[in-house]
Symmetry: C2
Subunit: 189 residues, 2 copies
Amino acid sequence: MTISAEKQPLNGVDTPTLFATLDAVRGQHDIAKFQFRASNEWVSGTHSRSQYSGFYGAGQEMQHAGVTVVESDHPAVLVGADNAPTPVEYLLHAIASCLTAGLANVAAARGVELHSVRSTVEGDIDLLGIFGMSDAARNGYEAIRVSFEIEGDADDETLRGLVEQSRRRSAVYDALTNPTPVSIDVVIR
Amino acid sequence: MTISAEKQPLNGVDTPTLFATLDAVRGQHDIAKFQFRASNEWVSGTHSRSQYSGFYGAGQEMQHAGVTVVESDHPAVLVGADNAPTPVEYLLHAIASCLTAGLANVAAARGVELHSVRSTVEGDIDLLGIFGMSDAARNGYEAIRVSFEIEGDADDETLRGLVEQSRRRSAVYDALTNPTPVSIDVVIR
């Protein structure tokens, strides 16, 4: 008997397949090792463009269904051409979308139907840090605040518990709140 | 006399304006306080959509030249509909584009002409963490590796020095390698 047999698809989440996938990983831990990738090309000034396509996971090379291109630039007030959002703004999308995806999965697994989930994210940054004008100001965000508005078929405590469980299992929440080793290699052509 | 009078635009960077902006911030530190924002809406399953428009900076509310919409989803192997890249893949674009924008600015400030800048970013993640199946595996990336290929009118040491200075002043590098406080607020509708 598996718990998945008792679950139905909910919130657009294929819950039986989700539980079957978790069962498969329990039986073979190696398939949980993933590697995600992006390739970036400088366009001009502070403008650059990244592309996502392949990744590694479940023991094999995989492709996304489509190729996504994303761009960053600095705004005019920071002497960019404002062709796209800043790099740091992508961190805000990352945390909102990670917590929201987790929320939908956790809600489906617990049998809670969600009607709507909206969030806003704010990140405070003192640019004295990246300008090298203050030892007190760090380069990155001083603080990030995520505010959710949720409608769903459960009481307040249950709905809040879904967000808390999503936070506890969020890859992006961990990446922002804890240190990650980042290495940088340079080849000169 | 200001150093900006000696600089010319280079690499698509308006270097005189960049130096004038730094001079302005030196004279009034408060204008360096910025707040970036995103708003996210759940679509279905693990699919959500964020929008960027306004931000606060230089003492006032500002708007980007355009509104950018970005989406995230989980791939089919992780029981998503693969409508878009995963949330964690946006972290890879963020670090590549932040380091590249800084590189172009630093190169312009130092009078180095760049011909091309390409980078690839890999992030290793063991999903046993987010699946709650291992205390040893963290939720986020175990490691991120950025690999640059650079062509420019300077010797190897000088070009490597540009990347190193960009790293030292990168907001996203700081956000990934050091902890950032993230608060989560929930309103039930």
